[in-house]
Structure formats: C-alpha cells, structure tokens
C-alpha cells in the first residue's frame, strides 16, 4: 500500500518527532549510578569512546571516557546528549500495522512477522526473487549488518540489497580501491599530528567530524601548513593557512592544477613512483593542460591559490590528505577522490609516520557497515560477489550451494528507481530514512507509494516509516552488544547498557525470526551477537577486510583492533601500505588520470544559482534521532539558506526573510541567513529536515557511474523572497518539519 494512512499532522501528533528535554530520572543530580558502561557514541564514524551512566535499567547521563585513545574524553554536542533516546516518549514499543484512515494499530510480533514473510513469498512467487528489495544502513553494528546481508542472500535470496553508505561516502571507497587497492583510510588518525602539510578537501570537519579538529590543530601548532577546500568558510577554514573557496564541482581543477605545478617545480618522488606505482606517464601526460590558469577556470578561484597550494603540498616532508562528502557527493565523485589521492601517491608520502590519507567516513559504522555483505556487490570481508573463489568461501561458511547466492544487485538509488518502475514490488527498510536523505525526494516518495508491501524496522517512526504497511520496533546501540569499525579502521566494542523498551527487539533478532519463517532457521540460530561475530570472523578470513584475528577480548584489551588482522597473534594494522606495498595484486598503487567534466546540472538562465547541501553539528543524518533530542533541537531548530550578501542584495533578500529555493524537481521554504562566508554564486541548505524543509526536494538524482552516489553537492536552483507561510506543514514544530 505504502501511502500515508492519515495526514502527516496526525501522525506527528502520535509518533513525533517530539523533543525530549528531560533525562530519565529528571534533571536532579544523578547520584551514584548502578554502573558506568564504557561504550561508543552511536552517531558519526569517529565512534568516540563514552561512558553511559545507568540506573535501574535506564541511561540517566554520561561521563567522558578519557582513556579511550581516539578522543580522550572529547565529545561533540551529539555525543553529550545522545543518552536522551533510551527513555524517549516517541520510542516504538510494539509492532505496528497500517490501518487506512486510522493510522497504525498495535499487533503481535507473531502476526507482524508472519505477514511480512508471507508478503515476501507472495511477491517473489508472483514477480520473481529479485522483486523484493532490502535497504539497510550503516548505523548498524557489524554483527547486525552481517546478518542483514546473509538474510538477503540466504533467506530472501534476492540480489537487491544495498545500504545507505551508498548515499554517504561510497565514492571514496571506490577511488581508494582503484588507486591504493583497499577500501579503508590508510592511516590511524595519530599520523595527522605528525604531518607538515595537511590537505582537507570537502570536509566541514568542525561540524561533521568535530573530534578530528584537535588532530588538525595539534599539527598546526607543530608548524603544519593547512590547505582547505570548501565553497563555504566553515569553522575550521577560518584558522587554516590557505582556504580555497572552490566552486562546487570544481575540485579536480585544484588537484590537477596542483600536480601540474608540482611536476614543473620538481616536487615529485620519481624513485617511489618507479618502485611502487603504475600509470604515472599517462597521468603526467593528462596533466599537461592543467596550467594554473586553465585549472583555475574549472575551480572558480584565482590561479594564485592553486600555485600556493602546490607550494605548500609539494615540498613538504610529511603530509596528510583528508576528504569527505564535499568530494564524494558528485556524479564524478570517484574521479574527484582519485584526483586528490593522485597527489598523495605522486609524492610517495604514504605508509609511514605522518604520511598518508584518510577518508572521513560519515556514519556510525560507515566503515564496517559496508564490509560485511549489505553492499549490493560485496560479500563479507569486503569480498567481491562476482568472484567465484569469494563466493565459494562464503557459501562454505553459510553452508549453502554457491549457485544459490544471488549475484550483484541494484544499488540504493537504482533500487528505488526499480521500485518506481515496478520492477521491485516489496521492500524491507531498516536503519535508513530516504524520505529525508535520498535525492529528488518527490520522486522517491512516488516510488515508495507504488510498493505493494513495505515493512520498516526502526526504533522511531521515521518520516519514511509512516508509509509502511508494518513497522517493527528495534533497538538503539546501547540496547545491544556488538562491534563497529571506526573511520580509522579500528574495530571497537559497543556494550549493551540497558534492555530495549517493552516489546522492542534487537534488529538481528527480528531478522533471525523472519529468516526462520522463510524456512532457514538452521542458518540463523544465533543466541547472541557474539556468536554472529564468531561467524563473521571466519567469513571475513582471507578477505581484504580480514577480522579473523580479532576477538572481543582482544578489542577490550587493546582499545580496539585495526583490520586487517589475519591471525590471533597478529596485532592489527593501524597503518596500511608500509614499505610502499599497496593492496593490488601487483603490490603497486595505480595512478588514475582524471579529466574534469561538468556537473549533471549546471546553472543556467532559468535556474542560475548553485545549491549545495550538507550537515550541521547538532544533527545526525536524516535527523530521526537528533530531531528528537531537545538540547540539539534548541541548538539548531530548523534549516536555513545561506546566501552571500551580494546575491541577497540582487534578489532583494535580507536576513531572516522567508525564501523559496526551487529546482526543476521541487522546492523548499526556509529563512535566509545572509552571510559573507559563502561563495556568491552558491547557496547552502542543511539537509536534516523533512517535508517542505527538505533540501533533498531540490537535489538531483544524478549518480556517479562507478560508485552510484547521488550528486547532493551541486544542483541548479532559483531563489525568491516569499511572504510569511501559512499552511499545515509550516505550523508543525520545527523538529517535525515546521518553520518558525
């Protein structure tokens, strides 16, 4: 059915988002908690250590965990207030079934799971196995992600499973694999501190990876020069040595221009290139035309900035590259990242202290969540689903014939397009909220409305879950045991602090119960997440992401273990590529020439302005969690549109005016924030909000040909001042999508 059963306002009234302003047990002093549970933040890929205060099976507060080496007690506001979710009034406590005209009614687990299994079978029998799709997320533990992937291949036997890392950082993964051979940050973060030159490309570190800031500033205090690329002056950009306000989509101009200058000035490590790489000559040839003047036109900045960047990066003794969504969210996202990584390999500054490269993976388990089989083209251990040996190994671990494992399926947005085209008729969604986070949101909503059956596993009624036939209540990170893998490649332990409330269940239990109903109970007989991890170790053995040597005890003793860790005696691998040994079969890095090409949608007379989207420090991804935490809502209640005063003046817009941002696909209404800290040809809207406030109403559904990531960072819009709004959506609270 997959249509709203009752109007949004009524759904919001019952399921929120509501703000939780008061912790469990009230604001009065916490007294002595029953226990302090050492675990990690549930939000971004940095996975900061934190201690949760637990009393009477409730999380009542937090205490910094200063011993954990990555963050040493440091936290961002999301980490500080994350504990407000466990006792949240919006928590889903029972399975819910859609009732037309009435909303949702509580049903038993028995009936909810029976119906889900029955619908899966019905759709698959009527339209084929692949007509049922699964979309998962990277805020799940490794154990949950592993079970979801196995469930798709063994229980549902659909090829069409993918995960929301596809919307996040997958371009970085593809680029890293192409040049370096392994999809993981090359270094632990500690190497940042020892770098003399740091290049930060497309990352609003201060807001989206706040703890990384201290690493950058420590390097700076030691004399490091820092270059930062962003169309907006972000908090970190204020204090760097060279801020390059690059035009959205123009990054390749900067990187190719820098390398052109470095070749001219002799800042290339030819010895390293000869010994450890392939493809240099073709790359050098392709760079000939990227003079600073030519490159500057692409990048939309003065040529002097490119020369200065080369002068900082070229001759440095040690250096570190960091990049994030700003490079990755493009229809040429992989090419953007490859052009940046070329700069690292050309200097030979990788695989030793203070030298390397990191992708700042965004989601809580952005790294691990993509390694163990929820990706449409991978099997556990970052194995290739089309590689016969890889399939054979996994088939052995799962105890199924190799030929029963489906082949490569559709990626996240492609899968939703298949739903739109009615090639996929049923969908199971967990840990993802595409009606806020997917591009071209009006299209995505229409796609979901065409589903014959739609089930959602979540702990809150997300904007997408409202469209479901069945909503199955799941658990928070602090309500389950398991591991995640941080942006550093460090495998760490999340410890269960409290039980899930009422009838809510851990995600892996829901999946296993469903598998039993699909007739494969024997393959999903897990008693605990630890048993799942033991199987994951074996499944990943010999793969690129080899966890075989990692045990939960070893993680506890060492404050995490970096993969690959092929044997129990192995200490783990904080730094990849030491001694110039890269991940490809020939042991070399493979340079990739990159030619700049335009965005999928360039500004024109009708839509003359570039819209770029991103995040704010107070919110996480689609806001399903953070728009329910009072303190974070207070910190950033609603989205806004950043406009340079020159553009604002042209359009007759002043601070706090209501504005309509309009693209060919949709529009949103927010207030203007007139600031000098953005390029005059570009406007910015943060994307964490739904409905008429959703930045993704405007974004374009153009995908990178390799990574299939959407182009969130560039689309063409027009802007106009509008009168004060007066509609039902506007009247909602800001956390629900209203506007004040």
């Amino acid at each position: 059915m997959a249509k709203l059963p009752i109007p949004v306002e009524q759904l919001v009234q019952r399921f929120g988002p509501h703000r939780n302003d008061v912790p469990a047990g009230g604001w009065k002093a916490t007294g002595t908690p029953d226990q302090l549970v050492k675990t990690h933040c549930c939000f971004c890929g940095q996975q900061c250590g934190i201690q949760l205060k637990v009393k009477d099976n409730k999380v009542i507060g937090f205490e910094p965990w200063e011993e954990f080496p990555f963050n040493r007690g440091k936290l961002c506001p999301k980490g500080v207030k994350r504990y407000m979710q466990n006792e949240h009034p919006d928590r889903l406590l029972h399975p819910l079934e859609r009732v037309e005209g009435q909303g949702f009614r509580e049903v038993s687990w028995e009936s909810a799971l029976d119906r889900t299994a029955k619908e899966m079978r019905r759709i698959q029998e009527a339209y084929g196995r692949d007509a049922f799709g699964i979309l998962s997320g990277s805020s799940l533990t490794n154990e949950r992600a592993y079970v979801v992937g196995k469930f798709a291949r063994v229980a549902v036997r659909t090829a069409n499973i993918d995960y929301n890392g596809r919307l996040c950082m997958v371009s970085a993964a593809a680029a890293s694999k192409k040049i370096l051979g392994i999809d993981r940050s090359a270094n632990a973060w500690s190497d940042i501190r020892a770098a003399q030159a740091i290049l930060i490309a497309g990352s609003n570190i201060g807001e989206c990876a706040p703890i990384t800031t201290d690493y950058i500033w420590d390097a700076r205090e030691r004399g490091a020069k820092i270059i930062l690329l962003d169309p907006r002056m972000t908090p970190v950009a204020r204090s760097v040595d060279l801020f390059i306000p690059v035009r959205p989509g123009g990054d390749i101009g900067i990187f190719n221009g820098m390398l052109h200058v470095m070749i001219e000035r002799g800042w290339i490590n030819h010895e390293f290139i000869a010994a450890h790489t392939t493809g240099w000559d073709a790359l050098a040839e392709s760079l000939k035309k990227y003079t600073p003047e030519y490159a500057a036109k692409i990048a939309g900045v003065p040529p002097a900035m490119i020369v200065k960047a080369a002068e900082i990066w070229g001759p440095a003794k040690t250096s570190f590259l960091l990049h994030a969504r700003g490079l990755e969210h493009h229809s040429k996202g992989v090419e953007n990242c490859m052009a940046a990584i070329n700069l690292v390999v050309a200097t030979g500054r990788i695989g030793r202290e203070g030298c390397g490269y990191a992708m700042i993976t965004g989601q809580g388990n952005g790294q691990g969540g993509r390694e163990h089989g929820q990706k449409c083209d991978q099997l556990p251990g970052a194995r290739d689903i089309e590689n016969p040996e890889h399939r054979e190994h996994i088939a052995g671990v799962w105890g199924v014939p190799e030929e029963t494992i489906p082949h490569k399926g559709l990626s996240y947005v492609d899968l939703l397009e298949a739903v739109y085209e009615r090639r996929i008729r049923g969908l199971l969604l967990l840990c993802s909220n595409p009606l806020v986070s997917a591009p071209d949101n009006n299209y995505i909503r229409e796609a979901l409305e065409r589903l014959e059956f739609f089930a959602v596993i979540d702990f809150f009624m997300s904007e997408t879950a409202r469209y479901a036939d069945l909503v199955l209540p799941s658990s928070l990170m602090e309500e389950d045991d398991g591991t995640t893998t941080s942006a550093e490649g460090r495998v760490i332990r999340h410890r269960q602090a409290v039980d899930p409330p009422h009838s809510a269940l851990q995600d892996w239990k829901i999946i296993c119960d469903l598998a039993a109903r699909l007739g494969v109970q024997d393959k999903f007989n897990y008693e605990s997440p630890r048993e799942i991890f033991e199987e994951l170790r074996v499944a990943s053995r010999g793969g690129v992401a080899d966890y075989y040597g990692i045990t939960w005890e070893k993680i506890d003793e060492n404050m995490g273990v970096f993969w690959p860790c092929p044997s129990l005696e192995h200490p783990g691998t904080p730094r990849l590529y030491e001694g110039g040994k890269f991940g490809h079969a020939d042991g070399r890095a493979h340079f990739q020439p990159v030619e700049w090409r335009p965005q999928s949608e360039e500004p024109d007379d009708e839509y003359p302005i570039i819209l770029t989207t991103g995040r704010v420090v107070a919110h996480y991804l689609s806001g399903t969690q953070t728009r329910r935490i009072g303190a974070l809502v207070a910190q950033c209640p609603q989205p806004y549109c950043e406009i340079h005063p020159r553009l604002a003046e042209k359009l007759g817009i002043v601070e706090a005016d209501f504005v309509k941002v309009e693209s060919r696909r949709g529009s949103l209404n927010v207030r203007a924030s007139v600031v000098k800290t953005i390029r005059p040809d570009t406007v910015f809207v943060p994307y964490h909000w739904p409905l008429d406030r959703a930045a993704n109403n405007c974004t374009v559904r153009a995908l990178d040909p390799v990574s299939r990531i959407p182009e969130y960072k560039v689309c063409a819009v027009r802007l106009k001042k509008i009168e004060r709004l007066d509609d039902a959506t506007h009247a909602l609270t800001p956390e629900a999508g209203g506007l004040r």
Partner: protein, 203 residues
C-alpha cells in the same frame, strides 16, 4: 587543585557547543549551563568563542555584590552565589566585564562557572575542557601550553582604565602581553572572512 591552568584559545573554537551542552550535564547544576558560547557577528564571520568564568584575582562580581554572596576559594576559584545570601539583584550579571554570571529566575539565584569545583578538586578536568573537540578550552599545565601552542597565553585584560588579572588564560596572537578591549590591530589579525573578497584579492 593541581598546577593545571584553564586556557581558552578562540582560534581553535569551532562553535560546536559541546561545552555548553556538557556543562548542563554537571551534577552540581544539572539542566543549567554555566558557560557561554559566543557567536561573533555571524554575518561577517564564522568566529565563535567560549566564555567561562575567568576567575579574577579581584572579582568585580564579588565587589559589587550588596549581599556579600560571592566568595573566592583559597586557590582562587570564584564560586556561584551562596544561596542563603543571594538576593537575585543581578548587580554581578551587569558588572562582570566578561558577561559570565547568569541569573536564574526560577530559583532566584545567580549561578556561574566554578571551574567544575567538584571535578577539579577530585583531580579531574572541568567538564567543558574534557569534552571540547577542538581543545579551544584546555585544562593543562601552563608551561605545556606555552611550549605547544603558537600564540601566547595571557591573563591581563584592560577595560578602559580597569585592569583585570585572571586565573584563566586566553591564548592571544604572539607578541601580546595583555589584551585591551577594542579592535586589536596586529599581524594576521583582521583577516577577511568575506569569500567574495578573498576570490578577488588573490586575483
């Protein structure tokens, strides 16, 4: 108290408000944040700066208090008002040159940053300095800060003719011995945050 010093470095601040949010989690004043996170002219710049109590040698808040409710500990920490004495007049709120004390109507009392006396007296760092992701707020030995930071930690402030010395330090650009209120011209200081201007200047 240890030899640690509280040091604020605005050049590091990213405006994330982790300090503000964590302060409200402190046991002695849960639900109320004592720290201020100032946004400075957002239209012109992304500059932000945290403001904790500077713990003046001769605290103006205490001097102007008609009820003698604000006390300093022997180790130089200026505390929140004493509940039995505070009359809620807000003289301190108005007089503090750093704008630190907060008056809470619902309890009719002034409260302010006391450098997390409960934590620091037990050998821990203040909450804000513990969580601060950018370490714009740091609690560390002063010689360590002097050795490792580019700027100079200073604790002398001139507000007109009023000279205030404080227990808490602020990292100023190198070459400054004290801070005088007003625009501070100097090397590298006012750097334009106007992106349009930056694109033109370098051309």
């Amino acid at each position: 108290m240890s030899e640690n010093a509280m040091v604020i470095d605005p050049s590091r601040c990213i405006g994330c408000q982790a300090c503000f949010q964590a302060c409200s989690e402190c046991d002695t004043h849960r639900g109320r944040s004592m720290i201020h996170l100032e946004t400075i002219l957002r239209q012109d710049s992304v500059q932000t700066a945290p403001q904790v109590c500077m713990h003046c040698e001769d605290p103006i808040c205490a001097r102007v208090c008609p009820a003698d409710a604000i006390k300093k500990t022997p180790d130089g920490v200026v505390q929140s008002s004493l509940k039995p004495r505070c009359i809620g007049c807000s003289n301190c709120v108005i007089a503090c040159p750093f704008g630190v004390p907060k008056y809470f109507g619902e309890i009719d009392q002034m409260m302010k940053c006391d450098l997390c006396y409960d934590r620091t007296s037990a050998g821990k760092k203040p909450m804000c300095a513990t969580v601060c992701p950018s370490q714009a707020i740091t609690y560390a030995p002063l010689h360590e800060i002097e050795r490792s930071r580019r700027g100079t930690p200073i604790n002398e402030f001139h507000f007109g003719r009023e000279v205030v010395r404080t227990k808490v330090f602020i990292v100023a650009p190198e070459g400054f011995a004290e801070m005088r209120v007003g625009l501070v011209p100097g090397p590298g200081i006012p750097k334009s945050d106007d992106v349009a201007a930056l694109l033109e200047e370098t051309r």
